[in-house]
């Protein structure tokens, strides 16, 4: 199981949980599982998120590996100029 940390707005959407545990070995599995198990997160997941895995930020690479002991943090989708 991977522990996933949520930012405040997402936590509010699922009853105030700031951390949840999901079964995921890759970024794709993580996002699919979140969408399936936490429908309230769906609007934000559709708008887009970035994911920090062990302090490094990833956007879209489905097959980015996630270790069971990885620190996983959902972030608002990054923008740049």
């Amino acid at each position: 199981m991977v522990r996933v940390r949520l930012w405040g707005s997402l936590a509010a959407a699922i009853g105030g949980q700031t951390e949840i545990e999901v079964e995921a070995g890759t970024l794709r599995e993580l996002l699919d599982t979140l969408a399936r198990d936490y429908p309230a997160l769906q609007p934000q997941l559709e708008r887009g998120v970035s994911v920090a895995i062990d302090g490094v930020i990833y956007n879209d690479d489905w097959f980015t590996p996630i270790r069971p002991d990885s620190e996983v943090v959902l972030l608002a989708r990054l923008k740049g100029g």
């Binding site: 940390r5 930012w7 405040g8 707005s9 509010a12 959407a13 700031t18 609007p43 708008r47 970035s50 920090a52 895995i53 062990d54 302090g55 490094v56 930020i57 990833y58 956007n59 879209d60 690479d61 980015t64 590996p65 270790r67 990885s70 620190e71 943090v73 959902l74 972030l75 608002a76 990054l78 923008k79 740049g80 100029g81």
Partner: protein, 748 residues
């Protein structure tokens, strides 16, 4: 593996040097071709009719008289575009390019004309009759949040917005951790203060321009000035309802972008005009149009509360940020909320951001979008607290600085980062201890930016004579052609002069993300290195065939294929040029390429230090000295890195002291030109000194971090802190223009 370090320990020969810029001669001789420099046979001139009203329902548009005018070949309105675009963000882009039911700001496009000359097109615009129903407007972010404020849209708020708020509030964002009430209870001093920043424009020299040619076979070509021609292709194709492969976009040279050219304004309109007219259509914005109708950044209103112990330790931090992003959702308040406290190691921190719409042009990204305003507020408050407690502002920042292992205010735990190194360099620098005179003050501030990578393609071709061409798909706005050539030369072991990098059109490479997010030197550099390595593997294979030995018995060293060891036989090295010369005989042309979604960009930090002098009679502020300390990971071409540091500082100085969008009571922009919207010029400024630090990013083979955006984050606060010390009064509203500073001094 994504989770492992990619950075290799190596001694660089070319990376880190300062070769001549490949675009220098073209730009100083006028040979470089910018957006407005392209023409085509039979070309028409396209112009846009813009709303003079800040908020109005469009009851009707009669184009009959304009269409019947001699020399007019096409007139378009929103009715010419697809009625429905599924993606909400793209639908907003279309509505911004050509208004639908309502004109939402002064300058909003409502119709366009293509004619045989500019004079005919201008005359035709006057013949278009638009019937408006005027509506109440709002341009201020705090006023727009009032429940009784004029509403721009209905039911556009997302699920995060509580019921009962103004319809202009689009989203709420919250970040942080810990218990801020418990943190504030531990503080010896709590400071609460409100801050405001005004909207500023990216101020690029080159106005938007394009040339569209839409063929009767449904295939189209577009030449335009942009930070991302693949984005232009994809956006225009979606808006026009055509397949991406039928539109080829070529990027011109670019006279600045800074985030403002990461979207489209003219391009879909030019394509539609060309489609209707059956001839090429060129469109070039005037400066007033650039100000009125392209994206400035958001303006902001921010409340900050920070608790500090007597020793300078920050016990809690809170900020509520309100950004207006113009007439459509999407202000960068989420980025501001994430970055506000990012430089600091805080046990208790919380930020709340509100995305608000107003009757202003749709905001566009501007270097580190959202972060400079947030840093202005937080860094001003920290500075004021340090001063009140009699503490050294650099020591306070060092005491609280985020380090490897710090849980960032936006969530993740930082890997190796360079903030502390920039602060120590700043403290040891002669600038910090230099004496100050009367009416002079010194300010410091820190800044943070995320950086990212994304889709990237590079094709590296070995020519028969042994020179090398690198094709990449990102417009060069900060020296990327030089950087790519240097990284390719480094990897191949050949002179820099043997490599030429070009920007390929959308038909030549796969998808490339926009030149933004400080991504290009990181992501395209990574792809260039991988492409060079692929070419090296192929060249080793060719040498192995010639030597009749196994492929793995050949290595590439110092620009040549060599036997891996004595068991491989005695063969003289074959240089790249020697292998290229016989490529036809050994299997055909040699190339390397890389297509990748480059993840793993490293975050970046900076500390800025500035001395200012205030004229108490006029309110004028002079920048006396300015030093930037920033982590670059690895500076590929240090002169370009310094240029990025200096450019960010200068744009931040303008934001802090002079630049602002000024709206009248009538909701119209009052200063749509460089005479009344004053950006800093060379005579306003000292040389901006720079100190490059290199804390390698493990996500890049050479350790590169993006540097283009972080440099604009600290200067707003650094300048405000310096002016506040010089004037003896805290400045909380940017820009600190002479009238505003005189008023503050007078109110002391």
């Amino acid at each position: 593996m994504a989770l492992d370090s990619k950075t290799e320990a190596r001694k660089f020969k070319i990376v880190g040097t300062r070769p001549l810029r490949p675009d220098g001669i073209d730009k100083v001789t006028g040979r470089a071709r910018f957006g407005a420099d392209m023409s085509a046979p039979g070309m028409l001139v396209g112009l846009i009719l813009r709303s003079p009203h800040p908020h109005a329902r469009i009851r009707s548009i009669d184009t009959t008289r304009a269409e019947s005018m001699e020399g007019v070949h096409a007139v378009v309105t929103r009715a010419d575009f697809p009625a429905f675009v599924e993606d909400e963000a793209l639908a907003d882009v279309l509505d911004n390019c050509m208004a639908g039911e309502k004109a939402l700001y002064d300058g909003h496009a409502v119709a366009a004309v293509a004619a045989t000359s500019g004079a005919v097109a201008r005359a035709a615009l006057k013949l278009i009759e638009v019937e408006y129903e005027l509506l109440a407007h709002v341009t201020d972010v705090d006023e727009a949040m009032r429940p009784d404020a004029p509403a721009l849209h209905e039911d556009r708020a997302d699920e995060t917005v509580p019921a009962g708020m103004s319809d202009n509030v689009m989203a709420r964002h919250e970040f942080g951790h810990g218990d801020i009430d418990a943190g504030f209870a531990k503080a010896d001093r709590v400071l609460e203060r409100g801050y405001r920043t005004e909207a500023t424009h990216q101020g690029y020299i080159e106005p938007h321009a394009c040339l569209a040619t839409f063929g009767s076979d449904g295939q189209a070509d577009l030449w335009c000035c942009t930070q991302g021609h693949y984005m232009v292709r994809n956006t225009c194709a979606a808006i026009l309802g055509m397949e991406q492969g039928r539109l080829r976009v070529t990027a011109s040279e670019i006279g600045g972008g800074f985030g403002g050219k990461t979207t489209v304004f003219l391009e879909p309109v030019a394509l539609m005009l060309s489609k209707k007219a059956g001839r090429p259509v060129k469109m070039v914005m005037g400066r007033a149009e650039v100000f009125r109708a392209t994206g400035p950044t958001a303006s902001s209103s921010i409340d900050v509360r920070i608790g500090m112990a007597k020793d300078g330790r920050i016990t809690a931090g809170f900020a509520e940020l309100r950004y207006q992003g113009g007439a459509y959702p999407g202000s960068p308040v989420d980025m501001g909320s994430m970055s506000a406290f990012a430089p600091y190691d805080l046990e208790h921190v919380k930020t709340v951001g509100w995305d608000v719409v107003t009757n202003r042009p749709k905001q566009a990204a501007y270097r580190a979008p959202g972060a400079p305003m947030a840093a202005f507020a937080v860094e001003s408050a920290i500075d004021e607290l340090a001063r009140e407690l009699g503490l050294d502002p650099l020591e306070v920042r060092l005491k609280n600085a985020a380090r490897e292992g710090t849980r960032a205010s936006y969530g993740p735990t930082f890997p190796a980062i360079g903030l502390e190194a920039t602060l120590r360099k700043a403290k040891d620098h002669p600038h910090w201890s230099a004496p100050l005179g009367p009416n002079q003050g010194r300010g410091v501030a820190c800044g943070f930016w995320f950086n990212f990578g994304g889709d990237t393609c590079v094709s590296l071709n070995i020519t028969p004579d042994g020179t090398v061409t690198v094709s990449e798909g990102n417009p060069d706005i900060g020296g990327s052609r030089a950087s790519m050539s240097m990284m390719a030369a480094e990897e191949l072991g050949i002179p820099y002069e043997k490599v030429r990098t070009i920007i390929a059109d959308t038909g030549a490479l796969g998808q490339n993300d926009v030149t933004d997010g400080s991504r290009v030197t990181f992501a395209v550099g990574l792809a260039t290195i991988e492409a060079a390595r692929a070419a090296k593997r192929e060249m080793c294979k060719r040498a192995a065939r010639i030597w009749e030995i196994e492929e793995d018995a050949v290595v590439w060293e110092d620009g040549a294929a060599r036997p891996a060891g004595p068991n491989a036989g005695k063969h003289p090295p074959m240089s790249l040029a020697e292998i290229a010369a016989v490529a036809t005989n050994t299997g055909g042309p040699i190339a390397g390429h890389c297509e990748v979604n480059a993840e793993g960009a490293g975050v970046s930090f900076a500390t800025h230090m500035v001395d200012t002098e205030v004229d108490p009679e006029t309110g004028a502020v002079k920048i006396l000295r300015y030093t930037v300390f920033q982590d670059a990971g690895k500076a590929v071409h240090p002169a370009y890195v310094e240029g990025q540091f200096q450019g960010g500082a200068v744009q931040g100085i303008g934001w802090a002291l002079n630049e602002e969008y000024i709206y009248g009571e009538d909701g119209r922009l009052q200063n749509a030109g460089f005479l009344d919207y004053r950006i800093p010029v060379a005579s306003d400024l000292p040389m901006i000194d720079t100190v490059i630090l290199e804390i390698p990013n493990p996500g890049h083979p050479y350790g590169v971090r993006g540097v283009g955006e972080t440099s604009i984050v600290p200067p707003l606060a650094a300048v405000a802190n310096a002016v506040s010390h010089a004037a003896g009064v805290r400045l909380t509203h940017l820009p600190i223009s002479p009238p505003r500073l005189l008023a503050a001094i007078g109110a002391k």
